[in-house]
């Protein structure tokens, strides 16, 4: 799994590629925690290169939502692929997260 971060002081995009599981999710968690520590107002997680995510990945995203919520920041998910969307639906996460079709939409919408 690879994690790339692009950010300015207003927003950050964390682009994840590969499988997100118990082995790899700490890498994603590290990026989210770092940006939350800097209190970046908007964090977008782009999952367009992720075909597989297990509950460790889901738990990391829920943690990100809670961390950003603690300073009234926004935490958004973009570009869900069918396999990951299904995990979100099974866990009812589609109702909890703000999910966008593209990174651009996630960054634009206020």
């Amino acid at each position: 799994m690879q994690v790339m971060v692009e950010h300015d002081k207003h927003a950050a995009v964390i682009s994840v590629s590969g499988d997100v599981d118990l082995y790899s999710s700490p890498e994603m968690r590290k990026a989210i925690t770092q940006l939350s520590r800097e209190k970046v107002p908007l964090i977008v997680i782009s999952l367009k290169e992720v075909d597989y995510m297990d509950s460790s990945g889901v738990a990391t995203l829920v943690e990100g939502l809670q961390l950003t919520g603690s300073y009234n920041g926004s935490f958004r998910i973009a570009c869900l692929k069918p396999g990951v969307r299904e995990v979100f639906e099974l866990a009812r996460l589609d109702r909890v997260f703000e999910v966008f079709e593209t990174e651009e939409e996630a960054l634009k919408t206020s």
Binding site: D19, D21, L22, Y23, Y52, D54, S55, S56, V58, A59, V62, E63, Q66, P82, G83, E86, V87, L90, A91, R92, L93, R95, V96
Partner: protein, 157 residues
């Protein structure tokens, strides 16, 4: 039964990719759809993840044995570990509680999500645990056509 095979992997999260690929291929041989293959693979992954976290307490020195049985209408995967005994009743309650919470609102606390996913995906989930011989988790998934037939025949009975 058509075929069966065993694999034994260390309790190392890094090995889960190998487990997923093997299970996906086995599901394909039975004839599951891509969606079902993804779901069964996820359930087995969650089972292994729980073993690593709870039975081996994240130690990489333990082992997980997976016995995979391929049938004409279903797949059966038996996960066995040799770690700490688990409280099966507590696990069942946790999955039920989690399911109820999700139905009511949404996940605030992601704990227990893995167990809930296993129960949501698989048609049969059975645990057997003991202090001396670890835990055995038996998972069964029927092909959709076989499941429909089963429901229909149960309805007639």
């Amino acid at each position: 039964m058509k075929e069966s095979f065993d694999i034994k992997v260390p309790s190392n999260p890094r090995m889960m990719q190998l487990v997923r690929k093997t299970i996906a291929q086995a599901c394909q041989m039975v004839g599951f759809s891509d969606r079902e293959i993804h779901a069964v693979t996820l359930a087995v992954d969650e089972g292994c993840t729980n073993i690593i976290r709870h039975c081996y307490r994240n130690s990489k020195t333990g082992h997980i044995v997976l016995r995979v049985r391929l049938y004409n209408d279903k797949i059966e995967i038996v996960l066995r570990d040799f770690g700490d005994e688990i409280d099966v009743e507590k696990l069942r309650e946790c999955a039920e509680k989690r399911k109820r919470e999700l139905e009511l609102s949404g996940p605030v606390n992601p704990g227990g999500l893995g167990v809930m996913l296993i129960h949501s995906i698989m048609d049969r989930v059975h645990y057997r645990t003991s202090q001396d011989s670890g835990t055995v988790l038996r998972l069964v998934k029927y092909l959709s056509s076989a499941r429909e037939k089963k429901i229909a025949s149960n309805g007639r009975a």
